[in-house]
Symmetry: D2
Subunit: 284 residues, 4 copies
Amino acid sequence: MQTAILIIQCKDEKGIVAAVSDFLHRYSGNIIEVDQHIDAEIGDFFMRAAWELESFDIPQDHILETFQREVGEKFGMKCTLKFNEPKPRMALFVSKLSHCLFDILSRYYSGQFQVEIPLIISNHPDLKRVVKGFGIPFHFLPITKETKALREKQQLDLLQEHQVDFIVLARYMQILSGDFIRHFPNRIINIHHSFLPAFVGAKPYHAAYKRGVKIIGATAHYVTEELDAGPIIEQDVARVRHQNTVEEMVQMGQDVEKVVLSRAIKYHLAHKVQVVGNRTIIFN
Amino acid sequence: MQTAILIIQCKDEKGIVAAVSDFLHRYSGNIIEVDQHIDAEIGDFFMRAAWELESFDIPQDHILETFQREVGEKFGMKCTLKFNEPKPRMALFVSKLSHCLFDILSRYYSGQFQVEIPLIISNHPDLKRVVKGFGIPFHFLPITKETKALREKQQLDLLQEHQVDFIVLARYMQILSGDFIRHFPNRIINIHHSFLPAFVGAKPYHAAYKRGVKIIGATAHYVTEELDAGPIIEQDVARVRHQNTVEEMVQMGQDVEKVVLSRAIKYHLAHKVQVVGNRTIIFN
Amino acid sequence: MQTAILIIQCKDEKGIVAAVSDFLHRYSGNIIEVDQHIDAEIGDFFMRAAWELESFDIPQDHILETFQREVGEKFGMKCTLKFNEPKPRMALFVSKLSHCLFDILSRYYSGQFQVEIPLIISNHPDLKRVVKGFGIPFHFLPITKETKALREKQQLDLLQEHQVDFIVLARYMQILSGDFIRHFPNRIINIHHSFLPAFVGAKPYHAAYKRGVKIIGATAHYVTEELDAGPIIEQDVARVRHQNTVEEMVQMGQDVEKVVLSRAIKYHLAHKVQVVGNRTIIFN
Amino acid sequence: MQTAILIIQCKDEKGIVAAVSDFLHRYSGNIIEVDQHIDAEIGDFFMRAAWELESFDIPQDHILETFQREVGEKFGMKCTLKFNEPKPRMALFVSKLSHCLFDILSRYYSGQFQVEIPLIISNHPDLKRVVKGFGIPFHFLPITKETKALREKQQLDLLQEHQVDFIVLARYMQILSGDFIRHFPNRIINIHHSFLPAFVGAKPYHAAYKRGVKIIGATAHYVTEELDAGPIIEQDVARVRHQNTVEEMVQMGQDVEKVVLSRAIKYHLAHKVQVVGNRTIIFN
């Protein structure tokens, strides 16, 4: 079923829901999902509506402008219109760790993710053999301090060539340059292996062990230029005990990481994530 | 802030949201919360809308009939209209166990529950002394097989006299008669100390121990005439290990019971629970 | 590091821990893990001890008899002695669903499971292609009512040929015969997609939806002849809401299933599961 | 049942468990609980053993010295010996918030806590009336910047007079002086309303909201002179959504705070907490 997804943001005032509902009703839109939110901090109104395209009276190409003209302009709305088809195109960046990669590929294989995965990019060759059964091209681009800028250029070329919409860093062990990040604003999802904002940076499980926490976590967030400080999409935790060594915490944490990252991908794919400042609305 | 809460149910069709939104907008209703749901099993549309009363153009007494005439009749809606004031009146039924009672009274004391508690009814005298600081009349009505019918009559008289809206069985250890229950349809909340539908009936922690489960739970539900089979409002669980004796499971379970029951009360107080068949919608 | 794992069961009496500790100390056993438990229901004492083999004074082949003679006989102990090497040999049985299979293979690939997987057996050919990167022989044995007995014979031959120690049913959609099960007592691990004992049998997510539960679960257990009634090894849960369709519950449940099954495998591999009646001790 | 609890710490070496087990067995100690742990960071061995006093051959007053002479000295052990009776004496410090106080008093009332509570100290008079049913003296000691030193002196006098063993800060809104803290090393339990080490200091829920976290938490820890940096005893979390205001997060967090604090008290009461550097072992 083909669907349109409209996300709007504007100053909160009376009559917005009525106006949007009336618009969709007037053009025979069969609403599948609708969710609204008023942000307490900035006072803005947010709405996400999804409806069936087939019976809708406005051709796909004219929906946005029609909506803007008839509704959006009046309320000063910032609008984003998305369609569930064609499927978004996602690139996977990996290094040596496999747990997040397999979790994503498993969901892709079973049809749980409505996504195309045109390529996997890795700075290590290790995972190439084991993922070949999934039939996704695997690009090995080793990175040294000297080749980093060149490799990012090659990566960007590959992403453009394959018309990639967004990138998932599935425990990719390289820090992206600000220049690279600016090509994909709020379109690079990273999984950090701590419960942010605790334990930013390298070796968070070691830091967690040292502080003696009783719960560890993982955080999926959009990548911004400040390390591990981007808008949080999803988090989850696992209980640890004093018996657990750092190595065990790493293993227990991996179970959290993969689930958290996959949930974040799912929200992103369904256009359910809206960034507000450094926070996210998850229309769910 | 005085608010009105409208809950509607009807066959799903196009234009309902637009019609309701337009109605509220037309009469200057400042919407605070709105949530909708289409039940996959019976195909019905459900909606809950809350708005400020102060600026609303229709006097409180005429809202329901106006809405029915202008919107409801067209869609064949079943409507319920509630107000947050005056506060609902809740009766507490207890026996000897105190954990749920104290959890409820603590929230009542701190203002977390928008509720009046005109009376506590117990078939045991034990808890009377310790709750006196809360200033709520405590009625001790001991029950034997012979006096049960009489006591229920006295209880019903007390409930009527105090204009009680709904009843919470806070680990009340008596089974209510069908006749009693019919006075308060979907208005008696019970906490059962198992993860229903597992371990219906008496001594669920013993049954859980015997079956060797690794997780125990608690279930808040509306009381119906079939024991422990009414619509579930809320559930939660706690992890147990083989080391835990039945007595420890009882203690660990009590922490779940009290939280689950209090959450159910909170949903009920905010008119967020809608019963559909034997399931519940929680507008949240 | 080569280790021995001793599990003992006997009537509880004074001096058991002292006797076992003294035995291990006397022969220079460097204890890595030791855990004991007194079962409240049957009054038995259980103990699991793991120690390094390298420095131990008794040759591997004589440990059990020496222990029995010097300690076990005095207390009437039932003893099991295991070694972490050679690695246990695990067979995977699958059908069409891939989530549990990929989760297991991912852990196997990353070295999280200390196990050999000599073969995968499936009654459907679908998953063969996608798992070929893992290099594990995949046996497609289709099953009809008529061929079931024959196929089980072929499966048993394969298991014997590959010296399989235990079997994991990774969402294998066939019910094993009593005869088959008796070949692997407490050595077949199944994942049932409900929070047992609720929703035994087929289509548990449909049953959970119908009952209106707020939490769903999954249960890993040893297979016995009574369906879904064997000793529970591990369980976990996920919260659902009224919005979730059965299909969504299936998807959310799969995340729980795979984690629960993999945890159960991990406990089994480390010889940390001891069956007592129809319950399990998890030495952890 | 009267029990002794022995906690030992020493360099890890072979034969410790055997020596301790043999000691307890030799003097007819009926072991109830025994747990050991080797700390991976400092290499020390820890053990906690609890046994029945009634049948034990050494009089209560001579246990520690006998153990030290016969076992402890050989291994250079640091030993602590505790008894479950007489019950520990706990002082409660509160301000205006009631949720933690009621949770503790409820467990005290039901006998879940094996403790004496000789007094409640508060810098506000508000809670006095409502807790009077529990029969515990309530001392109102208002604090200003000028009277702080005086009040702490009065508090210390009260604590001494009532022979208080340890203090629980049940959302007590004053920072204790270093001098006060040094009177009760690792014997003051505080509940901090964040998932430490995230959001140290004042208004953690506001900080959590601002950072856009998806999970909030609470931390029970021993008070040290560095604010919110002492050894963590217990933590737990609750999921929040973008809809939740700071006020709602405060309310949701209170449910976590009270459970976390009460669990920490329970561990402390059972002498199950051992501080190692800035971490804790929870013998459980």
